[in-house]
């Protein structure tokens, strides 16, 4: 689909940071951006959400790291990456030189790790804001994932918000693997999150019928792709209903503009396209175009008018 003059105002914001397009990459699904350059105008998309970075370089887990599942996939990468030094030295300058907005995802296993990362990212050129990946095991709590405990999640978010660049919106990325996502959303918002990214992958498992062992080196992995879209939409719907003024970066199985539209109607003011990029490397740009057309067809003058629209009608 080529660009259409839809006349819809597609601008939106992540917290207080304005972006010209509501469609972003998803952390871990576009590396640090450069690989998508042949397929997408990176300066035109909302932002590149970088692969979650930790303090030190990480090898990631042994292979196999993925298994295809019906309309989805399971991954267990283990956050392979260059560490914050590498990101600051190579990847962020590459993006900044080209004028590509970077929404930097940070991860850690201790509250202090997150804070240190936020600190190091203060004032870095091209950095639009921070996405806090709290779907990591908390070493101080027997490996329980931060995102699964409102208190641990809030501790991370308030530590990050305290030291992060005041110009950087801080989004907390929530896990759907909780009994009550609204309570986690409320806790991290109270702790200072400027917005919420939702959802991260669902914990899943696949067993290889030949080896009769789990396929993944890491045993369990994260389920993503269209298969999880109804769960992601439900999470966005519930949280927007409970916290209508908290901005949401929606994601989970978005493949087309109509998928993105569902997230916007449910309450997301921006969306990330993750696994679909593996199927279609130009998906982020295509989803933007398709969403613009879909909004125009429905008579919306601006994206902002459509955010949460499915709730307003429910009254």
């Amino acid at each position: 689909m080529t660009a259409v003059d839809t006349a819809v105002d597609m601008s939106t914001a992540l917290g207080a940071a304005p972006i010209p397009s509501p469609v972003l990459t998803a952390s871990g699904c576009s590396a640090n951006g450069a690989e998508l350059e042949p397929f997408v105008d990176l300066t035109a998309i909302g932002a590149v959400v970088t692969k979650s970075v930790q303090l030190r370089p990480r090898s990631g887990r042994p292979t196999p790291r993925m298994a295809e599942t019906p309309s989805g996939m399971l991954n267990s990468i283990g956050l392979q990456g260059p560490g914050i030094d590498g990101l600051l030295a190579d990847d962020l300058p590459w993006l900044a030189e080209r004028g590509v907005r970077a929404f930097v995802s940070i991860a850690g296993t201790r509250v202090e790790d997150f804070a240190e990362l936020a600190q190091r990212l203060r004032g870095v050129p091209g950095v639009l804001g921070l996405e806090v990946n709290i779907s990591c095991p908390n070493v101080e709590s027997r490996g329980e994932v931060f995102a699964c405990d409102p208190v641990a999640a809030s501790d991370v978010v308030s530590a990050v918000r305290a030291v992060a660049d005041p110009a950087h919106p801080v989004y907390a990325k929530l896990s759907p693997d909780v009994t009550d996502i609204v309570s986690v959303a409320r806790a991290v918002t109270d702790a200072g999150a400027d917005g919420l990214s939702m959802i991260n992958t669902l914990l899943g498992l696949v067993i290889d019928p030949d080896t009769m062992r789990p396929v993944l080196g890491g045993v369990t992995g994260g389920l993503s792709g269209p298969a999880i879209r109804p769960v992601a939409l439900r999470c966005v719907w519930q949280v927007h209903r409970a916290l209508p003024h908290v901005p949401i970066l929606g994601m989970g199985g978005i493949r087309t503009g109509l998928d993105a539209l569902q997230f916007v109607l449910a309450g997301a003011s921006a969306v990330s396209v993750g696994t679909a990029v593996f199927h279609d490397p130009s998906a982020v740009a295509r989803v933007h175009e398709e969403l613009a057309v879909a909004l125009a067809q429905r008579g919306f003058a601006s994206l902002r008018d459509a955010v949460g629209f499915a709730h307003r009608e429910a009254a």
Partner: protein, 291 residues
Amino acid sequence: MTPLTTPAPRAARPPVQRVVRVAGRRPVGDYVELTLAAPEIAERAEPGQFVAFAVGGPTSGLLLRRSIAIATARDGEVSVVVSAAGPGSTWLTERQVGDTVDVVGPLGRRYPMPPPGTPALVVGGGYGSAALLGLTAALRDAGSAVVAVVGAATAGRLCSVDDLGELAEVVVTTDDGSAGQRGWVTDAVARVIGRAGIVYACGPMGMLRAVAEQATAAGVPSYVAVEESMACGIGVCMTCVLPVVGEDGRTRFSRSCTEGPVFGGDRVRFADVGTLPWDVVGADAMGVVQP
């Protein structure tokens, strides 16, 4: 031990994504060869690169592309040889002339060329032999004498024997003796490696490992095209890694889609594939300590 190889260079031109027409289809032994009318991919393709197909059509529940090595690329057409293994590759083998397929490519890095005139040995296993066609032609054009060892489990799983025969001296082996010499490609390789100044291989991992070890033992540089499970094929997901020794001598989990699929045979730590050795860069942050 100083490696005999240098890492394969990046491709000269970036890949494209196109919906292309199937211009030809024919069974080759147990496989199906598809020819695609894909001029932009054909003109970019270098020997050793691959393409990635969306599979299953508009109603598909298969989310991930399937990577398939490029066999030939000329006159605006790209050919591939596909083995019907699971649902995705089976769907591909069922495409008919006139159907369209969604393909991204060319992807990955090429087989590096040796100094002109270097006698070369190319070794293919199963459908892997097809991926050596472009390379063999390029070698011959550059003045190399080429010996091709082509093996498979059975005669039906051999591939590209005649096409390679037009470009090189071909030795055929099958495990069951149903064609050529009975035995493994490594038996044949052992007999001819003395004449080679460089070795190239494409095929199953076990074969790649054995051939790479033979070459390295003989002091001959080797390049292998590995086949790791890939989610994206374009370098963004990190699923396709294996431990590869870099130019600085340190081992990294390298992406076989963008840093490969062609690696120096003496740089791939075959024995450690599927494990996390302590000396891989960043293994310490995963809690793996030096034993």
